[in-house]
Point group: C2
Chain length 123, copies 2
Amino acid sequence: MYDGHRKKGVTLPRSRRGREPLAHPDTTDIDLLDVLHALSDPTRMTIVQTLRADLERACGTFPVDVAPSTLTHHFRVLREAGVIHQREEGTRRWTTLRFEDLERRFPGLIDRILASYDRAPTA
Amino acid sequence: MYDGHRKKGVTLPRSRRGREPLAHPDTTDIDLLDVLHALSDPTRMTIVQTLRADLERACGTFPVDVAPSTLTHHFRVLREAGVIHQREEGTRRWTTLRFEDLERRFPGLIDRILASYDRAPTA
DNA sequence: CTCCTTATTCGACGTTCGTCGTATGACGAA
DNA sequence: TTCGTCATACGACGAACGTCGAATAAGGAG
């Protein structure tokens, strides 16, 4: 909802990077529908595809062409869906695929989806 | 279909059921991202789940609780994504899962997704 | 013919989505 | 300290989404 007035920097210091510990859902709470939705975007699919090949990457090193703030948005969607894990180290935020967790929850799903995507990248 | 009697419809003739032949994408044009998006909605997932079990059903016979016009919308999303096929017969519109087509395009995908959904229906 | 059933199209509504520019914060190097 | 880099939060924008009610159309039963 719209909260109205919120002067410039007066009111909120606001939590920034490193404050809130980057909430990740428990493995058992990963929702299939959220995962499918997260993977239904080409940018996010590319991110997951890249992470399946390489183990860990920093945010800025993905082969996608969107603004940094857009990328942050996509990472949040993937993280909140339980698809990726992010940890912080200095100014970098390292990202991994939660492959084992996904495998435990939905055996065989991720690789089947990625294989389907390789077969027909963007139609 | 015959076009003959356009009675008092002064304003909008407009295409209605049966006029436009219910466009379905070719098998080779089915886009994975569209399929994943189509399946990321609980109502549509339930429809697909139902169709995988039963072979063919009429629109009104699905175990979902939404308004008829909403259901029509969901069927269109599934149909345009290439997930279902619909044919008309009298006042009924029969719906089937395009299982063989999906299997040919993305082998093993649909059953893997449905198995994942059975495992954790709506979290 | 009339009436009921089936399922649609249309239009509207509030919400969510993907995108970006700008400002901000935290870290590390000079 | 200052400066540059990495990545974020915020706010805005238009587009798409899920939902529904009302009107419409066609088929079938009487």
